[in-house]
């Protein structure tokens, strides 16, 4: 079960492999409880296009849940 959803919008500026990175990304931290109630953290990063798809899916779910 989803307990919490945290997000962060970051901008990668530079790295050892590329001095001029300049890319924005969305980092998400999900708190999920399993059947026993044990809470686990899952984190992941998305590029902006990935995030836009992610957001679109949620919008779709929200629209469908309204009709159920």
């Amino acid at each position: 079960q989803l307990i919490d959803f945290q997000w962060k919008l970051g901008m990668a500026v530079s790295s050892d492999s590329c001095r001029s990175l300049k890319y924005p990304y969305v980092a998400v931290m999900l708190k999920v409880a399993d059947h026993s109630g044990q809470v686990k953290n899952k984190s992941f990063e998305m590029t902006i296009p990935q995030f836009q798809n992610f957001y679109r899916q949620f919008k779709e779910i929200a629209a469908i849940i309204e009709t159920v």
């Binding site: 492999s17 590329c18 990175l21 300049k22 899952k42 992941f44 798809n53 779910i61 849940i65 159920v68």
Partner: protein, 173 residues
């Protein structure tokens, strides 16, 4: 021998090979492989500093993510340097960067992504359900399956973001 190195045909191939090694992380692209494939008549002692120079130039361009103005200025400066490149070679490098820039940049971005990424997402909405204990459970539930994993990893972690339907909690006869 210097004439061999100045010839532009194999330079494009060399830049490709160097990119495979430096940016895409393909294993097995050795100096000797590149030399024997592209500059077979050039001895290794001459080839070595030459490919190092080209690799250095390519890395500088990629690291700065040069736009075309910066690229022009940079390559022109390289042609004026002692032990630099010829203007023909500059043209080959310019052409190579223009066609590979996006792919190389993406590869470098991936190298800087250490957290897991979202590799896939699927979902389902469940409507009303029944169980032994309650006649009807009204709350619709959205169940999501997120495929979270490092880029290039074969086994992603699967996460359900919402509880599976009621029968997991209730006694199921």
């Amino acid at each position: 021998m210097a004439g061999e190195l100045e010839s532009c045909k194999p330079l494009s191939g060399l830049l490709s090979g160097l990119a495979q090694d430096a940016f895409y992380g393909h294993p097995g692209i050795t100096e000797e492989l590149l030399r024997s494939q592209l500059y077979p008549d050039v001895p290794i002692e001459e080839f070595r500093p030459f490919q190092a120079k080209m690799r250095g130039i390519l890395k500088s361009i990629a690291s700065a993510d040069m736009d075309f103005n910066q690229l022009e200025a940079f390559l022109t400066a390289q042609t004026k340097k002692q032990g630099g490149i010829t203007s023909d070679q500059a043209a080959v490098i310019s052409k190579f960067w223009k066609s590979h820039k996006t792919k190389i940049r993406e590869s470098l971005m991936n190298q800087s992504r250490w957290d897991s990424g979202l590799r896939g997402l699927s979902w389902r909405v469940d409507g009303k359900s029944q169980s032994r204990h309650s006649a009807e459970i009204h709350t619709p539930v959205a169940i999501m399956e997120l495929e979270i994993g490092k880029s290039g990893q074969i086994n992603p972690e699967l996460t359900s973001a919402a509880n599976p339907p009621v029968f997991a909690e209730e006694d199921w006869p």
